[in-house]
Amino acid sequence: MTLLEAALRAVAALAAFLVLPLLVGQAEHKVMAHMQGRLGPMYAGGFHGWAQLVADGVKFVQKEDITPRAADRWVFRLAPAVALVPYLVALALVPVHPGVAAVDVPGSLVLLLAATSVGALGTLMAGWSSANKYSLIGGLRAAAQLVSYELPIVLALASVALAGGSLSLAVLTERWSPLWLLWQLPGAVVFLVAAVAELQRPPFDMPVADAELVMGAWTEYTGLRFAFFLLSEYAGIVVMSLLFATLWLGGWHGPFPDALGWLWTLLKGFVVALLVIWVRVAWPRLREDQLQRLAWLWLVPLALGQLLLTGVGVVLGW
């Protein structure tokens, strides 16, 4: 890989990182509004409020950047970056087209898992350093939730890796066949549920429950730092949706010529993102104990069963 190509790939990943979360955010504004019989932000920029997120960004920039006096200053200030950057790394690993991922490493699945789990650290840092009891409770709940739901995610991904016989996302997508839609379905459901929980989005937003924890770990954050947390949430949706689209829905495989592969990946990812938004609007928040119960009594056994099924399938040579 020449230097120029590396630079181009890095710029492409950065551009995707800056554009795709905004698209998802805009979709959330409008879809959520229509699902609730509202219009949603309609005015910024003219046609259907397309510039609403830009306007939000301008608003966030103008706000004062406050650090609580009792806060652990450096940890507090670093937390949004720690939450945001891992998703950039993760997004760079997702193959959108045959041979097109910003970084194509052999064990990209493992690297992606490692990167996304660092994002949880940002929430934990924010909750701990804010010098606020609500934040602390939110941070601890987030830690408990992320520990619980990391396991089903890993197990579901392990099943796919076993089925495809590789740890590289590109190779796994290459070996995908429509049969996986049936065979790997339990793992797909487990992954989707656990991914929503991992992003701390409703109905699994107990750590940020704005009614009782005021916003959890984000309580003390203002302006741009708060916006980074929001952005990391949307970037997380993008990463998880694209991951789901590439591994379970076949990524660039589609009925049309291969040149349109990247379009298929993005389209499938966007559909998954819409599903994540839909779930947010439709379902109420789970209680803390229900949340843990769902992870340990349902998702983990289901994922283990899927792993067993995949193992049997691989041995029998399906």
Binding site: H34, M35, Q36, G37, L39, W278, A282, L286, W298
Partner: protein, 210 residues
């Protein structure tokens, strides 16, 4: 599972699926948002926006200012002497309103001033768009209060079978001493306007105790 208990099930469909279906159905319907700044809301005629003053009706009796719970009404007035219309007659005095102001930054829209005004000088107007960037501009003087008057809707029509208004009944009452007059109402004496107040005698009650 604990989360999907019996309350979540309606008509055989789990509650979670029903939730998804409901939101999807709403998403496919047109929205029913009231687009307020672009489309004026249709307010009921009795809605309370701002208080309007009909200056001619005000006698500066100060009742409204005194009843106002947060003292947001300011009234200044002076007396003027009107010369006698006929020679040798008596001169009269009347109140002239100098200032009537309501501070809408204090007003809590209780409507007591409108209730107590004996001369119908104060009215509710449904106009509600009078926000200001400076709080001092919320002090409306009598000219501004008078400007709201055209926005006051006409009072609702009387009920078909309601008693006549007091003024009309009084005007229609036959002159004293003429007795029964002919026409449709001749069978019975004209009714008094005021309903008769029946007072219970206080001595009737306390005799029950043993």
């Amino acid at each position: 599972m604990v989360t999907a208990d019996d309350r979540g099930r309606t008509g055989g469909l789990p509650g979670v699926l029903k939730g998804l279906a409901t939101t999807a159905r709403t998403a496919l319907r047109p929205t029913h948002t009231a687009e307020y700044p672009d489309v004026a809301p249709s307010l009921p005629p009795r809605s309370r926006g701002v208080i309007a003053l009909l200056e001619e009706n005000c006698t500066s009796c100060m009742l409204c200012a005194r009843e106002c719970p947060d003292w947001c009404i300011f009234i200044d007035s002076h007396k003027e002497t009107i010369p006698a219309p006929t020679p040798g007659g008596r001169e009269r005095q009347r109140n002239v309103l100098d200032r009537f102001a309501i501070d809408f930054s204090l007003c809590m829209y209780c409507g007591i001033c409108i209730e107590v005004c004996p001369f119908d000088a104060l009215h509710w107007s449904p106009q509600f768009e009078y926000a200001e960037t400076d709080i001092r501009d919320l002090l409306h003087e009598k000219e501004r209060l008078g400007e709201w008057m055209p926005t006051v809707p006409p009072p609702p029509a009387l009920d078909e079978r309601a008693a006549e208004p007091a003024e009309v009944a009084a005007a229609n009452r036959p002159a004293r001493g003429t007795g029964l007059v002919g026409g449709a109402g001749a069978a019975r004496p004209p009714r008094t306007v005021r309903p008769k107040v029946v007072r219970e005698k206080p001595s009737a009650a306390p005799q029950d105790d043993p």
